[in-house]
Amino acid sequence: MMLHLTPLGATIYTALAAYAGAFVAQLVRRPRLGRALLAAGSAVALAALGWRWVETGHVPLQNLFEIFLAMGVALCPIAWCCRRWLPAPAEALDPLLGLIVLFPVGFIFSAEPRDLPPALQSWLFVPHVAVYLAAYLLLARAALTAVSLYWQRNGTLPQIGDRLGGHRRWLQSSIFNSSDRLARAGFPLLTAGLILGALWGKLAWGDYWHWDPKEMWSLATWLLYCGYFHFRALTGARYPRTCAVLLVAGLVAIILTVTIVNIAAIFSGMHSYAK
């Protein structure tokens, strides 16, 4: 646990406060206020990211601190796109995701700026990380949405039911479908991230696959979502609970890919520089 007592830290804590406010606003059924606070939080986080860019002198997507901060920014535009093109109910989940993503930036990850080692200076650096970042946000939202199907039964997220008219079965299937839609939106990005990483590996290290722990976890994640889509193709909408479990398993695999691999010594490999 650490506090960043810098101007950068202050902007991050402001963004966190805005996301907390947005979450509460959504819970007490003030969706417009919630959206406004979400946008404000994202804008503040964008300012922090811009600050960081100037400070380090490279696109701030190198370590966990920078990547999670960028996720905290990208969250709001992605939430807007989801509202626009997908049915993405349970809007309280957007600021919740923002809180989950920005909390470690504010309190856990080290903010020490570092130069890019030669291998990271590639035109594939930004697309590889950015695409993964968007994929992870969408897939995390998919898992949270799928889980909210079971939460809302206990009334934890009451606004969903009220806003959509309250007919439980219609509501549940709409949430169930939207979790599937979100997974479908995220999967091509996950695929692109994996492939861009492979291309980059070929350019920088001579091979497109290095059996590195982080690569293996990301492949396991990709295969899990493959399994999810095959399962859905096989069973349709008959087993929403299993689908939710698979989406949550995918999210767990994502979290392991992103964090544990960088933190745990047993997984040290070529991606360790991203600490």
Partner: protein, 279 residues
Amino acid sequence: MMAANKYQLFRLLFQRFNLALIFGLVGLVVFGAFLGAERAKALFNSPPLWPVWAVLALALLAGFFVFAAKLRNPGLAALHAGCLLILLGSFWNSRAGHALAARLGCADKIPWSYLVLHEGELGNLVWDETLAQPLGRLGFGVRLDKFGMDYYPQRSAEYEPAVKQYRSAVSLFNGTEVTPAEVTVNHPLHVHGYHLYQLSWGRDPNLYSVLLVASDSGLTVVYAGFILLVLGAAVRFWRRRGALECGGSTPPSAGVIPPRPDTERRSGTSSPSIAEGAP
């Protein structure tokens, strides 16, 4: 009629088998993640796992025949064809693939080796990863003209400035032809079926550069697979409503959002989509 039923059963079993295969692979890959890169590479390239890759490739191929109608969807077809091409290209690019190509009388190439050159030295003898065992000679010569490093401006007095780039200026000797070129990190050089990479450097006491020499066999196939996979995923999953829904064994209505509650209540029918599994 009987035959049709048996075929249906076969399709169902094949689908289940594919699902089991995918989740089995998840387990295998996670296991590989715990091994660390070197041991994982050894395991996944070892002969006991060849049947797994063969079964995977065959399942992907068989899918095109068993689910011919479904795989007429261009996105889905490209996705699966991409996976298949990546598997085939990877095999071609592997040590086993190179050994097979040599035995069949195709190009006898060294799949993966290292070239150690001092400044001013011309050589084509390549070594294994320990740099102790010679593996053979390349069909062209490489001379290291100069090795150098670029640095970042120093961040603080206590740290050495970080290295920004490693550069090997080389000349390529092919017959009577001499071509100057440069190898830097992230910018490999492509020569006569090989890629040369800036890998490492040292001083003994003279400055030398270590170049990685990787064969490009099968790489085009792998890249074609990459393109198909990414495009296929985008087409399959990002097309508008209808294409977004999963087809297959469920009636089309099951994947789609049921009508709004008011209309549903009026008609009095219950949506089949979620009732059984819902809490």
